[in-house]
Symmetry: C2
Subunit: 87 residues, 2 copies
């Protein structure tokens, strides 16, 4: 499946959250990652994130889609990251 | 259609970008908005954003979907904003 993950976490946990997400997804722009991922890997990612974040302060949203095919992605301005631009 | 909009713009333009996006979409979390929007309203929104942002520095990504029905949205941690929580 294709997922978009957006996080809004306290500064001190940003690095750990980002590093964890990057093991599974690619970075798109500030606090946004995307990627194709299997159900089992997504479960792993969520378990790892649940250990890092403070559930009463931080927020991570995962949008799940059956496939990337049915979505249109438009960028206004510069393209900071993306599949072909892994940093 | 349903859209997810994520922005990564310089601090001095954040307020203006957020204010503009909020005319059309609802705030979800830091730098993320969502909502049902018509094609013509999305065109208007994009035109307004193009006037505000610096295209060589800022980035706005719009994910477009035919309908919200086919997507699954999961939140880990707190739900900061959303349709039922307009601030």
């Amino acid at each position: 499946m294709f997922v978009i993950l957006v996080y809004d976490v306290e500064q001190k946990r940003v690095n750990k959250v980002l590093k964890t997400c990057r093991k599974y997804l690619y970075w798109v722009q500030n606090s946004v990652l995307e990627g194709e991922i299997t159900e089992s890997k997504l479960t792993k990612l969520k378990m790892e994130l649940e250990k890092i974040i403070k559930k009463d302060k931080d927020s991570v949203i995962i949008y799940r889609f059956p496939t990337k095919k049915y979505q249109v992605i438009e960028t206004i301005g510069i393209k900071k990251g993306g599949e072909d631009n892994i940093i």
